[in-house]
């Protein structure tokens, strides 16, 4: 299955939005996409393990502010991914999937996530990687992740009308907040992220 056949097949489907006409659309129902998901997952898990972020002491170390591995992996991924995906977007090759901004839900959900993060010390992606590497305690975490997801579904009707609507700003992006055009913003922001990594390295060595 080549890329062009996917694009051709998908181009008949309605696009999610944006000016690009040739980007593939949602195709997760096709068996091929399930195989793609599995393949990308194998790569993702391989990288997470090699990056050390499937290891309990490295993840706890990040939260105890004594290990910079997690921050280095995440910022490097953001730098390369941001430059790469916005370039592909400019070429009309991909669609964006900007997450909605809902201040109350982002903050309260984020803090709850953080408390859980410290207790389990794996996250949904790295927990899968931890299990693959042989940390069997991740099984209890995975059971919890399913339980918590279902609990959220139980109250999703009420939350959808209350907390989720507070401070709902839609697909708000950082350049809009500071009033810059996207390319200008990236030309400032990406060097800043690189500088942050360099500063972290310098602090750790000093």
């Amino acid at each position: 299955m080549s890329a062009s056949t996917i694009t051709e097949k998908a181009s008949a489907l309605p696009l999610e939005g944006g000016p690009e006409k040739h980007a593939p659309s949602k195709t997760e129902f096709s068996p091929n996409q399930l195989i793609f998901g599995l393949f990308f997952g194998v790569l993702f898990g391989f990288l997470l393990q090699k990056g050390g972020v499937a290891k309990y002491h490295i993840l706890v170390g990040a939260l105890l502010l004594e290990d910079g591995t997690v921050v280095k992996v995440m910022l490097s991924a953001i730098i390369v991914g941001s430059a790469g995906i916005f370039s592909l977007y400019a070429l009309g090759l991909v669609q964006l999937h900007v997450k909605p901004t809902r201040y109350a839900a982002n903050i309260i959900g984020g803090l709850l996530f953080g408390v859980g993060f410290a207790l389990i010390a794996y996250c949904p992606g790295t927990g899968a990687a931890a299990l693959g590497q042989g940390n069997y305690d991740a099984l209890a975490g995975i059971a919890g992740l399913m339980l918590g997801s279902f609990l959220f579904a139980e109250v999703s009707g009420g939350l959808g009308k209350s907390l989720m609507t507070i401070g709902d700003r839609g697909k708000l992006m950082l350049p809009e907040v500071v009033g810059l055009r996207l390319p200008t913003f990236l030309m400032i922001f990406i060097p800043l992220l690189i500088a942050a990594l360099a500063a972290l390295e310098w602090l750790a060595s000093g």
């Binding site: 408390v115 990687a129 339980l147």
Partner: protein, 197 residues
């Protein structure tokens, strides 16, 4: 043209492979990352580009657990599960993200096996050093409660360390940067309480 972009990106990144610390196995209990975290991060960035292009999907892990929980719910209480708003909006099924998470288990196994880092333990060494060798029930309880809070928080916030922390943040979503900050605020505070008091 499209292949050109992807292959150019791969070629540009190739030299950094040489910088990877190919030391491989670190059998010590507090072993560092096998590869340079910068290289791994850059490759995850490249993988994000690839999933956007080939699957029209950002990397994200947390929704997989919601789908799987919904599939179990559909077996145990089909009518109730289907009545829930979240599962009306997000049908429980085996989808791309579920396959991604299953793949991640396999990929991490392969990486650990290749690098001689398979652990096969129930109690992580750093947990044991803090809470003792007999603390497995406490560890499993903490992991279960932690996972529950984490998934509830992820659904409320709209993503996890992958979905918000990497995919959302790299697309400059304001909500993702706020959520990412809150992940660490909540996490650092709780971890300091657990390990420093």
């Amino acid at each position: 043209m499209r292949w050109l972009v992807v292959s150019a990106a791969v070629l540009l990144l190739w030299p950094t492979m040489a910088l990877a610390e190919s030391a491989g196995a670190h059998p010590g209990e507090y072993s560092p990352a096998a590869w340079s975290p910068y290289l791994v991060g850059a490759l995850i960035g490249l993988l994000s580009m690839t999933t956007f292009y080939f699957s029209n999907k950002p990397l994200g892990a947390s929704t997989a657990y919601a789908r799987l929980a919904g599939l179990i719910g559909k077996v145990l209480a089909p009518r109730h599960t289907e009545s829930l708003k979240y599962y009306r909006d997000n049908k429980p099924k085996i989808d791309w993200e579920v396959m991604l998470v299953l793949g991640a288990i396999v990929g991490a196994f392969l990486a650990a096996w290749q690098g001689g880092e398979l652990t096969g333990v129930w109690l992580p060494a750093k947990w044991e050093a803090r809470f003792g060798a007999e603390s497995l029930p406490l560890r499993l309880t903490a992991a279960l409660i932690g996972g529950t809070l984490m998934a509830f928080g992820a659904r409320l916030a709209g993503g996890c360390t992958s979905g918000h922390g990497i995919s959302g943040a790299l697309q400059l979503s304001v909500g993702s940067w706020i959520a990412l900050l809150c992940f660490f605020v909540g996490g650092v505070g709780t971890a300091l309480l657990m390990f420093r008091i």
